[in-house]
């Protein structure tokens, strides 16, 4: 299965009696944009959390790059190459935009405690490199002029983009975006889709949760639909659009 980067198989997550995710299986193909859609409360974010190790799935496995990642803690998922953003933005508010991105590179840096204590040439060089690297990422998301601002002082759209830059700094092979276009103006959505295109060109697979159908249908090659924790459909945008179960889930059954 080398053409799929992530394989979710039979994942179930129960919280007490509530089944948030119910036996969901799908593959995310390498190098494409894969979208997960579904009504509010369908279990999309829970599934993201199962993939990134925030939750341990009750049942089922998560395989990333042919390695079992089920239940691995979040920092291991990040180190393995899964970057993510959050539905409700979670930046380090009192750190500068640049520091937010530099922190993202933490697990790829090689300085030891010794290097940091004595500011060895190796640590100085690495700090210079990570600064350059992070400035490039800030430029990519159009925030290089705000490098020194506190994250909390950035505008909403800038914060969303900063979160993407921070996730990119972890050098992911797979990027999970949780509702990246929420609250965006049409113009910002266009820019976001351009950014997703750039990310794909860098060889990073994108897996996103999104409510905006226009964004989903335009940006993604493949879509899975979740309703009440169950996967009710999967396919190309055209296939999903015509699926009557999907229409029912969104609009309700016709009487």
């Amino acid at each position: 299965m080398s053409d799929s980067i992530l394989r979710v198989s039979g994942v179930t997550k129960r919280f007490g009696g509530l089944v948030a995710v119910d036996n969901v299986t799908f593959d995310v193909p390498t190098g494409e944009v894969f979208a997960l859609i579904g009504p509010n409360g369908a279990g999309k974010t829970t599934l993201f959390n199962c993939i990134t190790g925030v939750y341990k799935p009750t049942l089922g496995t998560v395989t990333f790059l042919d390695k079992d990642l089920t239940g691995a803690p979040p920092h291991r998922a990040a180190k393995a190459g899964i970057g993510r953003t959050f539905q409700n933005i979670r930046l380090f508010e009192y750190m500068s935009a640049l520091d937010n991105v530099r922190l993202g590179h933490h697990s790829r840096m090689k300085s030891y405690l010794w290097d940091s204590l004595f500011k060895t040439p190796r640590e100085r060089r690495e700090e210079r490199e990570v600064t350059t690297y992070s400035m490039d990422l800030l430029k990519l998301v159009g925030l290089d002029r705000h490098a020194e601002s506190y994250a909390r002082n950035l505008a909403y759209g800038q914060q969303r983009r900063l979160e993407i830059a921070r996730a990119l700094a972890t050098e992911p092979k797979l990027l999970l975006l949780d509702e990246p276009a929420a609250g965006f103006t049409p113009q910002e959505k266009v820019e976001l889709m351009e950014l997703v295109g750039t990310i794909i060109k860098r060889g990073i697979t994108v897996f996103l949760i999104e409510h905006d159908m226009k964004v989903v249908m335009q940006a993604s090659q493949r879509i899975a639909v979740l309703d009440h924790g169950e996967k009710i459909a999967e396919g190309t945008p055209a296939e999903v659009r015509g699926n009557h179960r999907v229409i029912e889930a969104y609009l309700g059954k016709s009487a």
């Binding site: 180190k79 979670r90 380090f92 933490h106 300085s111 004595f118 500011k119 640590e123 700090e127 996730a167």
Partner: protein, 399 residues
């Protein structure tokens, strides 16, 4: 040269730079001024300042735990105790009286680092099972640890000297010393052993200044490294830090053990200077005092914690003990001598002030926190780092 000048220009206006320069100058001038003001009899006061340095070291260490990583540690004195007892056991005749049968007299300079590592190890041992706890829960566990450790030492029987503790610890020695015209000798080194004794408290003071400078440089380096960044991130948003690849448990453990190491360092010095350890010196009040120093000085800022420790140490150990006598003098000089005499329903001004000591202390604390809730010298935007590395230029070069 121009680089230094440019560096100085960008940094000179920063509160932290000013604070560091002021701290260094006062460290150098303090003994001179004291000796001058007391006609050369100020050795005792210089020794008091060296004791204050012990608290300053602890405040710097606790600042890593509380200020950088945001972990509330209420049992910090435990590591101080561990450092002191390590010194007492490894640098005294004490072990000869135990079943071990041989005294160990390791040099101060080695035990200083042994104590540091022992305390750091204790930090790891305590931290590993407990750092998964958050906020208030961690505070309670550390509180318990802080109570247990002195108890263990006071019940350690022959090994730790029990309740009376251990005395007659070795003093630090230097194998050579500088001599010069001030002792009627030509300038140069003498191979005569130099002993740090109670007759020469200035030597302890100088030693303490060097220890603090070393610790400040190292911890300042840490703060501006990837580890310092990770501490900040964990404090700000733990789940986001984890999603960025930070192993939150091990990074918190590191903060905890670095704080413990600094405290152990301070403990070894304290044991050597006092030449005596007793479990009574490491109670909860020490942990709380150090925590107050950090909070009052400005959490997360090294010079802030240092200034906080000076202010609180002065109030607690200099101002308050002398307050009764000084109030009496003040009353006399205003011609209100009658206030100083006890009557049936008035204990006398000195006595009254003595009784009110901790009320005054509490009022001072509340007052400072009301006037400056962020601390005396709060942590600044980490701008210095940004401007002086000049990332814009670096980014330009990279193109």
């Amino acid at each position: 040269m121009t680089a230094i000048r440019a560096y100085a220009r960008t940094h000179i206006r920063e509160p932290n730079t000013i604070a560091y320069i002021a701290l260094l100058l006062s460290a150098i001038l303090f003994p001179l001024i004291i000796q001058f003001a007391t006609n050369g009899n100020g050795d005792y006061l210089v020794g008091v300042a060296a004791d204050g340095g012990v608290y300053m070291l602890m405040a710097i260490g606790l600042n890593v735990v509380v200020g950088f990583a945001g972990l509330l540690d209420l049992g910090y004195a435990a590591f101080f105790a561990i450092g002191s007892y390590t010194y007492a056991i490894l640098a005294s005749g004490h072990l000869a009286a135990t079943p071990f049968g041989h005294a160990i007299h390791l040099p101060f300079w080695i035990v200083l680092f042994v104590a540091m590592f022992v305390a750091a190890a204790a930090g790891v041992l305590l931290g590993a099972p407990t750092l998964r706890l958050r906020g208030d829960y961690l505070a309670i566990v550390t509180l318990g640890f802080g109570e247990i450790v002195p108890q263990v030492f006071s019940n350690g029987g022959v090994w730790t000297g029990g309740v009376p503790g251990m005395s007659a610890l070795d003093v630090p020695k230097l194998p050579f010393w500088i001599q010069g015209p001030w002792v009627n000798q030509p300038l140069g080194f003498t191979t005569e052993e130099f002993r740090f004794t109670t007759a020469n408290l200035t030597a302890y003071y100088v030693l303490m200044v060097f220890l603090i400078i070393g610790v400040v440089v190292l911890i300042n380096n840490l703060q501006h490294s990837r580890l310092g960044r990770a501490w900040m991130a964990v404090r700000e948003n733990e789940s986001a830090a984890a999603a960025c690849g930070v192993n939150t448990v091990s990074i918190k453990l590191l903060a905890f053990s670095i704080g413990a190491a600094t405290s152990g360092f301070a403990g070894a010095f304290y044991g050597a200077k006092l030449s005596y350890v007793s479990s009574e010196n490491f109670g909860f009040i020490v942990s709380v005092t150090v925590l107050s120093m950090v909070v009052l000085g400005g959490m997360g800022n090294i010079p802030g914690a240092m200034i906080g420790s000076i202010v609180l140490y002065f109030i607690l150990f200099q101002f308050l003990p002398n307050a009764p006598a000084q109030f009496e003098q003040l009353a006399t000089s205003f011609g209100l001598d009658s206030l100083n005499h006890a009557t049936a329903d008035w204990p006398g001004l000195g006595e009254e002030v003595g009784r009110m000591k901790y009320v005054i202390f509490g009022l001072v604390l509340v007052g400072i926190m009301l006037l400056r809730p962020q601390g005396l010298l709060p942590s600044q935007v980490r701008k210095q780092e940004l401007t002086h590395t000049g990332h814009h230029e670096i980014a330009q070069e990279a193109k």
